[in-house]
Symmetry: C2
Subunit: 238 residues, 2 copies
Amino acid sequence: VTAARTARERARQDLVEAILAAARRQLAEVGAPALSLRAVARDLGLASSALYRYFPSRDALLTALLVEGFDAVGATAEQADARAVAAGAEPGARWLAVCRGVRGWALAHPHQWSLLYGSPVPGYAAPRDTVEPATRLSRVMAGVVLAAVQSGALVPPARPLPGSRLVTPAVVEIAGGAPPPPYDDVLERSLLLVVALVGAVSFELFGHLVGALTDDAAGFDALMAVAGDGVGLVLPRG
Amino acid sequence: VTAARTARERARQDLVEAILAAARRQLAEVGAPALSLRAVARDLGLASSALYRYFPSRDALLTALLVEGFDAVGATAEQADARAVAAGAEPGARWLAVCRGVRGWALAHPHQWSLLYGSPVPGYAAPRDTVEPATRLSRVMAGVVLAAVQSGALVPPARPLPGSRLVTPAVVEIAGGAPPPPYDDVLERSLLLVVALVGAVSFELFGHLVGALTDDAAGFDALMAVAGDGVGLVLPRG
DNA sequence: TGTACATCAGTGAACGCGCGTTCACTGATGTAC
DNA sequence: TGTACATCAGTGAACGCGCGTTCACTGATGTAC
């Protein structure tokens, strides 16, 4: 009896996943602003009204895609870092590996990247559910930098940031604490790593670097190296 | 006779400007993806078809707005720098002034900023005309950094970037030349300044920093200071 | 095991909307003699 | 200065499109006895 019930529920879950997969395809093809419920339904051979049994509105679908996307980026970052650690990499090399991993994901999923880090979709306000997955990438960054502090691999800042804690307690908690001087501004500095990474990837993806670099990948590495310099990470060069 | 002709032409130019102004208003209100010719026409009390006497398509209007926007950002940066120079600021302070100026413009014109640096508008490909105005900001950055090199105010990089010229000859020309070692990688490093600035502003504007900083303006300054550290600019602190 | 009923999935038509663009048109503004 | 013609500005209706969402409906799947 419960087996039967779960059969129906399993069918339901399957369709939810099929819808999400179709939506992902749509997103990859036409981008978030042009993503339409009707196109998703068409893709599945369903009546457009059928989707309302599974998602209450287009925005709900977008939210699901947003969460999926942040999770995918976060997972990519975590895996890249884990692989680097397994290979015995120093913090600088770990960070570069994360950057390359994230850039690779973005190049493979440009429209999804746009959804995550591009202009907000007009008329859509991301709900709370998307906040937590969005922090996953920052967590990885903070982990690398804090590991560098603990292993003594982080170059102490030549000129510490003035003032204290610019970052909220919530961020400190997410990062897993803040070290003592002279590394007490390390969380603030780490924020630049995230900003530089996301900024560089978006810059490239949105076409602002077209014709500026002789080699996009090498140029990206260089940018991340310079950002690393600012934070005190020692990146492998050459 | 020619006075009469110019009268008509002046009227035409006036309307072109009125259309652009209305489009700017529309853009500021609803954002680029939702910007519609019909709304612009409504705003002016015209039939929507009338606009086709002045712009051949919606895309042409978008292009005009794009050029305007890049010019506005560029002008803001130039003015901020000029004011800093006039006040006798060092290169580091000049750079911070430019950053603050650009951020201020972006906060005042969020939708325009999105048009310039956010996700590309779906179905719209920016034509050549937009490239040159887009470089205006980079020019200012390069000017500040090169001035720092010449005045000896730039800290030489602790770890120079490996490889040579990652930046294309076109960029070198725009920047106005590249200095000799140990500053020969300064153009590559400068690129991070642009990326960090645009990245930080977009990050804040697109909502990724909500709840992360106790003081957004101070946090922004700190981010720019860290980016400056990576490049070798000495920013005023405290 | 079989029957009566309730729940759910999916349909297809419809509503109302706004969009970009085209086109034949009416007047007004300019030009040539 | 006045008249005949050409150019241009702006109109309003129309085309064709796709969208999100609602709603009454038909069958199929499950449930209770």
